[in-house]
């Protein structure tokens, strides 16, 4: 088999397109392109029940994503769930009396945190805690209550 210049070019093209496909998938398809860098600050919130919230769930204000949940753990003393959020530092003017609630996107969708800005002149800082929280609505609990009410009403 004769080894030619065209072959070299075609092999080069093949390898380049394969690597380009990998880069395409890394940046366009996966979450690598939308990773928040270290350019963010941490805020905590205590919830009675954080429901189906997961690490990496979005944190929204008025429907715009401003950060992600970075950790969820249980407070050993109060048995509440502590949700740690990383907020992008360009949004550093959130009032300190803002409230957070856990909502579900659609009926069966993913759960996310919605932050309702307050009116205070002070802003949330790194490692500050949000006091006004409302827990996740657990669908089974609601259905259970509804059924109980229905049964009692009879």
């Amino acid at each position: 088999m004769q080894h030619s210049k065209t072959q070299d070019t075609l092999v080069g093209f093949f390898v380049a397109s394969g690597i380009a496909a990998l880069f395409y998938m890394a940046l366009q398809v996966s979450n690598l392109g939308s990773y928040t860098s270290d350019d963010s600050y941490t805020v905590y919130a205590h919830f009675q029940n954080s429901g189906g919230l997961k690490v990496k769930s979005p944190v929204n204000v008025a429907g715009v994503r401003i950060g992600r949940v970075s950790a969820i753990r249980l407070d050993r003393d109060s048995h509440e769930s502590i949700v740690e959020m990383r907020i992008e530092s360009q949004y550093n003017n959130l009032p300190s009396d803002s409230g957070v609630s856990i909502y579900t996107a659609g009926l069966l969708g993913e759960q996310y945190i919605s932050l309702d800005p307050g009116s205070s002149d002070e802003f949330l800082k790194d490692k500050s805690t949000i006091d006004i929280t409302s827990s996740a609505i657990v669908l089974e609990e609601m259905i259970g209550k509804f059924m109980l009410n229905k049964a009692e009403g009879k």
């Binding site: 093949f14 690597i19 979450n31």
Partner: protein, 260 residues
């Protein structure tokens, strides 16, 4: 009955002997790779015949698989009003499973069978023994470059397959069926994890490339040096590769995605 036992023992022994020969062959091939690296021309020639010539079948199949996923996914997801999840469905199924597996099966059919036939014919026409007579190790000179080429081309082909498949899904979903463009990409980016999905898919294709190249080259090298023997070896390559790829895929998926 005695005959049956005799045959059973014979088959078992010969299959173990074959596995042993295959293992020796593999270790010999792997040690031969160090001799390939100083001579990249050998490798480039093989990457051409193994990778570049498979390029067309991989890209066209990827496009059609992606388009079919887009159509089928849309039909099912629109029943639940979740058409926006089409991007996730297409991307996840391609990156995790279909990309590595289907491209490995196509690779076995396109490149693996060609490798087996080439090596088998070299053996039948006594080119390999001729090399040995000239004190050239045929495994180092012939097998190792082909093995390395298959091993390197497979992940690239699988990545191409997945990427073009996703574009095909986008073409059908967004272009023809009217799924929202932003939601298609945004949901995909939110659900596909770089390490969990893409890196694991690449690992799968590396493993498949290794196994398919090994099987193809060994079957050619171990073929009975007649025209019938070569044709049987080629068939065995495709059958054994398909079987190994699918079985290994289950094991790898269980290790990567199943919390066992």
């Amino acid at each position: 009955m005695l005959q049956f036992l005799q045959n059973l023992g014979k088959t078992t022994r010969s299959s173990f002997a074959k596995l042993g020969r295959a293992s020796f062959f593999l270790s010999h091939t792997l040690t031969g790779i160090s001799d390939v690296l100083p001579r990249p021309n050998l490798l480039i020639k093989q990457v051409y015949s193994v990778g570049v010539l498979s390029f067309l079948i991989i890209t066209i199949s990827g496009l059609f698989v992606g388009m079919v996923l887009g159509l089928q996914g849309f039909n099912i997801l629109s029943d639940f009003g979740a058409e926006e999840s089409l991007g996730v469905m297409v991307a996840a199924s391609l990156v995790r499973e279909l990309g590595p597996v289907v491209s490995a099966l196509l690779f076995a059919g396109r490149a693996g069978s060609a490798l087996t036939a080439e090596i088998g014919l070299m053996k039948a026409t006594e080119q390999l023994s001729g090399m040995e007579m000239m004190a050239v190790d045929p495994i180092k000179r012939i097998i190792s470059p082909r093995f390395l080429a298959g091993f390197l081309s497979m992940p690239l082909l699988a990545a191409l397959f997945s990427a073009i498949g996703i574009m095909g899904g986008h073409l059908v979903g967004v272009g023809m069926l009217g799924v929202d463009d932003g939601a298609f990409w945004a949901q995909m980016q939110a659900s596909i994890d770089f390490q969990e999905d893409i890196i694991n898919g690449v690992i799968k294709s590396v493993v498949f490339g290794f196994v398919v190249s090994w099987i193809a080259l060994f079957e050619g090298y171990d073929a009975i040096p007649t025209s019938e023997g070569v044709s049987r070896a080629t068939t065995r390559t495709v059958v054994n590769s398909a079987f190994s790829v699918l079985a290994l895929d289950f094991i790898l998926t269980a290790l990567m995605f199943g919390d066992i």
